[in-house]
């Protein structure tokens, strides 16, 4: 079966190559955009207890809408292809980063913050030199969750003509053809492991101080 898969793969190597690149592009873009939205928002929430409820709630709810529904509802506005796929994936990826950033900030030892403030660090400096590094393990936890989810869900780009490895998966499922399904599935799994391992390495680096 693996051999058949490889044979099919070699036959369609150009298509595969393009699908991988598109998949990575869409995933990266979605992760980056989500990160840029979720981290500042999470920080803001952690400092504004009263709004955190509503903001986090809002994003969590948006996430519930099945991606296909998002795509259908958004098609008149966003059309098809890359942009709506990015939009739908971003909705998926924001909450894990958001929620973990929020917990990460709330979890910092108050005596450390007190020290930082007492030393005359301004809010910005405290944020960048103390809070973000200390919350980083959790932010990265969120990022890893989101990244895996985005990579797995980027297959939905295939619903709307944006390409990616989903093309192989849906074709495989539609035809009940394990060969094709395997190519798509294994590639997505591989991407997911690579991401996991490299983000673990990053997390390992930023938590060096926790170890002896």
């Amino acid at each position: 079966m693996i051999n058949e898969s490889i044979a099919y793969l070699l036959l369609n190597i150009d298509k595969y190559y393009e699908a991988v690149i598109v998949h990575i592009e869409i995933s990266l873009a979605a992760i980056a955009v989500s990160f840029m939205i979720a981290v500042p928002l999470g920080i803001w929430c952690s400092k504004n207890g009263s709004v955190s409820y509503s903001v986090i709630n809002a994003f969590t709810i948006l996430r519930i809408i099945p991606s296909l529904a998002v795509l259908v509802i958004a098609m008149p506005i966003l059309g098809t292809g890359f942009v709506p796929a990015l939009f739908a994936l971003t909705l998926l990826a924001v909450p894990p980063i958001l929620i973990n950033t929020y917990s990460g900030f709330r979890n910092i030892d108050p005596s450390v913050l007190e020290c930082a403030a007492g030393m005359g660090m301004n809010a910005g400096k405290i944020l960048f030199a103390i809070e973000i590094p200390l919350a980083m393990p959790l932010i990265l936890t969120g990022l890893r969750t989101s990244a895996t989810e985005v990579i797995a869900s980027a297959t939905l780009a295939s619903y709307i003509g944006a390409g990616g490895l989903g093309d192989f998966i849906f074709t495989g499922i539609g035809m009940n053809d394990i060969r094709i399904l395997l190519i798509g599935g294994m590639s997505v799994a591989l991407l997911s492991v690579l991401t996991e391992v490299s983000l673990t390495a990053v997390q390992h680096m930023v938590t060096k101080y926790q170890r002896d």
Binding site: L71, G79, T80, S158, I160, G161, D167, T171, M175, D177
Partner: protein
């Protein structure tokens, strides 16, 4: 014989795939069985990739299938183009391989087809697939993956009509292909010939002028042990199948997909006219 069934209150597990037509048919067959005194447990709306396995597992007792699908997707045989031949082959092989029985096939043929938006069809003067082949380089094709791979899909077309070098070819989910055409994101899509949308004026099905599509006649596939125990089920279901031709099926589909009614109401309404 229906009295006997009434007395025992035998339960039959009905399945269907997860698209409108299959749901309506599943419901229709269920109603027929109930009318004959059986109890029916409906397990409709199953994923296309799952339904066959569920039947083999005994999670369901029967579901409406298409002869072409059985031949190409399930049995993975080479395409054939004659309705009878296809039917005989799937009947024989299903029985041998899976202990499953194909009941009588319908006149209705939910085959593949190519559909264009009327706007694009008129712009490029395309009526037939031959026309399409000539203008392919100007056409944006909304495919859905399997069509490009299936032996009865694009490869079959290429063999008969020559190659199609589309201006653009992207995959879309089957559920949104008419929206894609409607929103002018593509000009051409894969259709199934009984889809309700085809009753709309907006879309044009291209004529298969060189006759390449294999037949997709509808028939319930049922577990052998069930038929053997309750042979009269055959007749009950065949009676329904006999009423199904393309016009009827398109109409039923349109009631749901265009008029947005519930499939079970539509099925019930239709069943009342034929019972």
């Amino acid at each position: 014989s229906s009295d006997q069934a009434k007395g025992n209150k035998v339960t039959i597990k009905a399945g269907s795939k997860d698209f409108t037509e299959s749901l309506i048919l599943g419901e229709l067959y269920s109603l027929a069985l109930e009318h004959a005194g059986y109890k029916v447990e409906r397990k409709l709306n199953l994923g296309s990739a799952i339904v066959h396995n569920s039947l083999i597992n005994g999670d369901i007792d029967f579901y409406p299938e298409y002869t072409g699908t059985g031949l190409l997707t399930v049995l993975k045989e080479a395409p054939k183009f004659d309705s009878k031949e296809v039917y005989q082959e799937v009947s024989a092989k299903y029985k041998e391989k899976f202990k499953l029985i194909w009941l009588d096939p319908s006149a209705a043929n939910d085959s593949q087809g190519l559909v264009m938006s009327k706007r694009a069809a008129e712009q490029y003067q395309i009526r037939t697939i031959s026309d399409l082949q000539k203008h392919a380089s100007q056409i944006r094709f909304a495919s859905q993956g399997q069509f490009d791979e299936r032996a009865d899909g694009l490869p079959a077309l290429v063999k008969v009509y020559g190659s199609f070098d589309f201006k653009d070819r992207r995959l879309y989910d089957n559920g949104i292909k008419y929206d894609v055409l409607h929103n002018d994101k593509a000009d051409l899509a894969v259709a199934y010939t009984t889809e309700g949308e085809l009753s709309k004026d907006e879309f044009v099905v291209l004529e298969d002028d060189k006759h390449v599509w294999p037949p997709y006649n509808i028939a319930p596939v049922i577990r052998q042990d069930v038929v053997e125990k309750h042979p009269e089920i055959k007749d009950i279901l065949n009676k329904v199948t006999a009423k199904l031709d393309n016009k009827t099926v398109i109409m039923l589909n349109a009631e749901v997909d265009i008029k947005k009614r519930e499939y079970n109401e539509v099925a019930k309404e239709f069943f009342n006219t034929i019972k």
